[in-house]
Symmetry: C2
Subunit: 208 residues, 2 copies
């Protein structure tokens, strides 16, 4: 094969991979993780075999699709852990993670889902993040600011709950998640605080 | 037509209606409100035209499907409003509604969705329930037990968030919703309380 032909083939493969990832991210974020591989292939304008060649399983596809968000997520928790005041660090993590999850529900869903052990990279990264978060919870308790009966599982619960907040407009979802994060932080406090909450959000269904 | 033939026809129609409602409740509760009418018809073993004859729109179908739960939901809020202590009444309502919604996510989804004004019965009943809840919030604030900056919308937010809590087993979902309700109540308190929270729930994804 001539060099330029090999180059062309490689470049096509790389274009395909990037396009499949972009389509998968959008599909997972807006429709959840149930979108079939053949639908991802159709929207990427490639055959299913091409998707499978790059990503042998659906899990491999979304591990790759969410690699970047996972890195951001880990960095947020690392930053919280590095804060001089562990309670402030924990509040920052809750606020940022809930906002991040409100903006990208595909990642949120992936982060709070149970997968077979085969999805090594994704679950290993997540487990590492959760272990750091566990340490932050321990320190915030030790400082006396976090209620002693709050556990790591309560943060996972808050992340899942955050996924339930529905609104068509992303800015409304973010505002509602901010209010929700403030409520969760309030419930976690060992002692009450007069800190005002962010504005309440009027979701479409409510009557006056 | 002979009387027994008319009777037979009426009885078939009534059987069909009951079967369609049972199928719709199950479908909406386990798969959400996006299940197509023709799928409901298929599972009910009738033609789509039969479903449409009983329920001209999908909204009419789920108004009928959820009529009973809506009555229970209203009764819970009425009971809360009748309590001598409005804060206790409000806590009761939050606990019972979140548990109810954890058991039947179809109703929960319907309750927190925006519908066109044509769905008169469903939205009228819901608006009536929300108005009672609004009055309960006002009284609990007046008693000094509820934070002054909590509004009706925060309860709607909690209901939606509750829908995000996923677990295959219904008992795990209920336990997680109980913990969540306790956290929400904690965040609503004007003054902190040493009341212990219900047990934390370990959701499947968490690492140790």
């Amino acid at each position: 094969m001539k060099p330029e032909v090999t180059h062309k083939l490689r470049s096509d493969a790389s274009d395909n991979r990037a396009r499949i990832l972009a389509v998968a991210r959008l599909a997972f974020a807006t429709e959840g993780l149930d979108v079939p591989i053949r639908e991802i292939a159709r929207r990427s304008e490639v055959g299913p075999a091409t998707v499978y060649r790059h990503f042998p399983t659906k899990e491999a596809l979304f591990t790759a699709a969410f690699a970047e968000q996972m890195t951001v997520c880990s960095a947020v928790v690392e930053e919280g852990l590095a804060a001089a005041d562990p309670w402030r660090g924990l509040c920052l993590v809750i606020e940022r993670l809930l906002e991040m999850h409100a903006l990208d529900r595909g990642f949120s869903r992936a982060f709070t889902s149970q997968f077979p052990r085969t999805i090594e990279h994704f679950t290993a990264d997540r487990d590492r993040t959760l272990r750091m978060l566990h340490e932050l919870v321990r320190r915030a308790k030790e400082s006396g600011d976090l209620r002693p009966d709050i556990v790591l599982e309560d943060i996972v619960l808050a992340l899942m709950a955050n996924e339930g907040i529905r609104a068509e407009a992303a800015d409304l979802r973010v505002a509602a998640s901010r209010r929700f994060a403030a409520l969760i932080i309030q419930s976690f406090r060992a002692a009450p605080s007069p800190t005002p909450l962010p504005p309440a959000v009027r979701l479409p269904l409510t009557v006056r």
